[in-house]
């Protein structure tokens, strides 16, 4: 019975070579950089009046050809298009709702929050997708989805820290749906629908670098002073003056999971608005760190394979020998 301990140690040595180094996987991971021309959103909850114009127009423009909600049968459209369609009052993002306004009202505090894809700098979904259906655009940084590649494994849903990608559970031939930053509109020189149709400038579009500067500047504004808030785009000519609210001193999306291209400002702490409290390091980089340590250039698996093949060759010698001789 000597196999117990000694052989166990041997076994760990053989199969555990791969794993011996995963104690501190994070160190091997490299931080991902945002493309310099990346575009994104800035949402200022203190400006949001909860009119849901962004929700309505998101759906209106994304159900058009090229949009992320487009279907040939038009089932995702706003307008009534058949007796099966029911009034759409989603409780969360769904495969028909890429953008949702939620409300928080407790303890005398009130705020809205606009949820959609954060377009992370290091997106979990892109890291997770086995068949490269989720991609991060090299120029704009938009996290895109390609249904033609997708196998529907839904690992992106598991991997997304913000629970953004949504699956068509009730379809026989389903696909994932998520905000793709209106890339079909950007291609024609328009800005995302949610920003174009926001009446107050709560959602604005622009290069992420400029959005970050704008957000940081707003945090420095004196509460109660008047500020001309841009509407539509961060450098838009149309501005609306408003008294500055008391901001929570935090830009959500600046550092969360390695940074996001969707930044948020609010007067209520973000955890109360349903935003998860996230580390600066992305979970994707932790996961990739483990993978890259273990499978770096496949060296470790090849070495282990050599050792295993040698051992197996030795053990099966008698069988082969018997028959050969």
């Amino acid at each position: 019975m000597s196999i117990n301990r000694r052989d166990f140690l041997k076994l760990t040595a053989a199969s555990g070579i791969l794993l011996a180094s995963d104690v501190k996987p994070g160190q091997a991971a490299t931080g991902k950089e945002m493309p310099p021309q990346a575009v994104g959103f800035l949402y200022d909850a203190t400006l949001c009046i909860g009119c849901k114009s962004c929700m309505y127009n998101c759906k209106k423009y994304n159900t058009m050809p090229g949009g992320a909600l487009y279907t040939e049968d038009g089932r995702n459209m706003n307008e009534w298009n058949g007796p099966e369609q029911i009034w759409d009052a989603p409780r969360d993002l769904t495969a028909k709702t890429l953008n949702i306004i939620k409300a928080y009202a407790e303890e005398g505090e009130q705020s809205f929050i606009k949820r959609h894809c954060m377009h992370c700098v290091d997106p979990g979904c892109v890291s997770a997708c086995p068949v490269s259906a989720m991609q991060k655009d090299g120029k704009t940084g938009i996290v895109t989805y390609d249904a033609d590649k997708c196998i529907g494994c839904r690992y992106c849903q598991v991997a997304c820290p913000f629970n953004v990608p949504k699956f068509e559970w009730e379809e026989a031939f389903p696909q994932l749906r998520k905000c793709e930053l209106c890339r079909h509109r950007l291609a024609e020189g328009d800005i995302p629908a949610c920003c174009e149709f926001c009446p107050t400038g709560a959602s604005i579009f622009g290069p992420v670098e400029e959005l970050r500067k704008e957000a940081e500047m707003r945090l420095r504004l004196r509460t109660g002073s008047e500020y001309e808030y841009p509407v539509g785009t961060v450098d838009g000519a149309f501005k609306l003056p408003k008294k500055v609210d008391q901001y929570v001193n935090h830009i959500h999306g600046l550092e969360e999971v390695g940074g996001c291209q969707y930044l948020m400002l609010a007067s209520v702490p973000f955890d109360k608005l349903g935003m998860p409290t996230l580390p600066k390091k992305s979970y994707a980089s932790t996961s990739e760190g483990i993978q890259h340590v273990l499978y770096n250039k496949m060296i470790a698996p090849i070495v282990v394979f050599g050792v295993l093949a040698g051992a197996a060759f030795r053990s099966t010698k008698s069988e082969r020998g018997e028959r050969d001789e």
Binding site: A14, L93, I151, V158, A159, Y283, R314, R320
Partner: protein, 378 residues
Amino acid sequence: MSESKPLGGKIFTRAFAVAFLFALIGGWFLIQRFAQGLGAVSNMSDGFPWGLWITYDVVIGTALGCGGFAMAILVYILNKGEYHPLVRSALLTSVFGYSLAAFSVFIDIGRYWNFHHVLLPQYWNFSSVLLEVALCIALYVAVLWIEFSPAFLEKGGGPQASKGVNRIMFIFIAFGVLLPTMHQSSLGTLMVISGYKLSPLWQTPFLPLLFLISAVAMGFALTVFESFVSSLAFGRPLETKMIGKLAGVIPGLLIAFLVVRWGDLAFRGAFGAAFGGGWPMIMFWVENILFILPVVMLLPRPNREKAGTLCLAAFWMVMAGAVYRFNVFLVGFSPAPGWSYFPAAPEIFVTLGIVSVEVMGYLIFVRALPVLPEPERA
């Protein structure tokens, strides 16, 4: 390979009929799934995108199919030839466990007509843990069938027929150890990316190591349990002596598992959640008791000579590994407040159907092919 021989006898027994019935029920719900979408038969949701099918059929199913892997380590890598008679039956469970896991993936993925993309290099994303798991499982299914092929060849042409395959078998054996090592650990790595969504009781960079150790332990335990079940089912003498020796590996593996598990929990200071209440707390303790039970039962050597104790300990071990996997993939998983999941009845019936196909396949193969060892001459 004269140590194995076909069992013979009637294939369509009562057990087979029951399995067939369950397979039909599962098949009926599968038709619904393909006609109306996943939502029609399963309780999976955007919060719980992975449900029973991934957790049981794939993650647990392949771990249960680790018998072939565990025995290969023991017999071929550690060169313990005395256990050779157990290899082929262990391989058979692996063949079915893995083949049906692959089938389960096919029914679980939404866009199954794109299934082949996983195998085509132009689609590969090397950052994806799931890609590695999928490729390894696909390859391993092929390797398992090759490893098992001598049983077919010997059936047709006698003991000498597998000569050619056996000559290069060591390559497949090496693959048959490497691939499960890779993907059983990666099944754990899968959940690392879910981050805060997995309770701190389970979320750790050590998930791959914990999954690998518990998979090997489950492989051994299932080989032990299966040996007793086939002895009972087919009226064959017990293989207590050999099995008892084999079971001696389990406590060592489990102690290693528990040291890593509890050491990690202590290091991360995550014990608080173990008293946090709710299902995660209950299932955490169920899981740990199930892991400790086989250690307590199998550590004293006299116990390993008692067939009943061995059998029960092996069963608890298998359950421990299964509960651990359920905990990591479902119980400890909480995407956001408000989400809940428990499998729907049709979803469970599909899983039962798949298990039934596995049982039917096993029954056919052991009767028709040289799988089970010739009775020990006590």
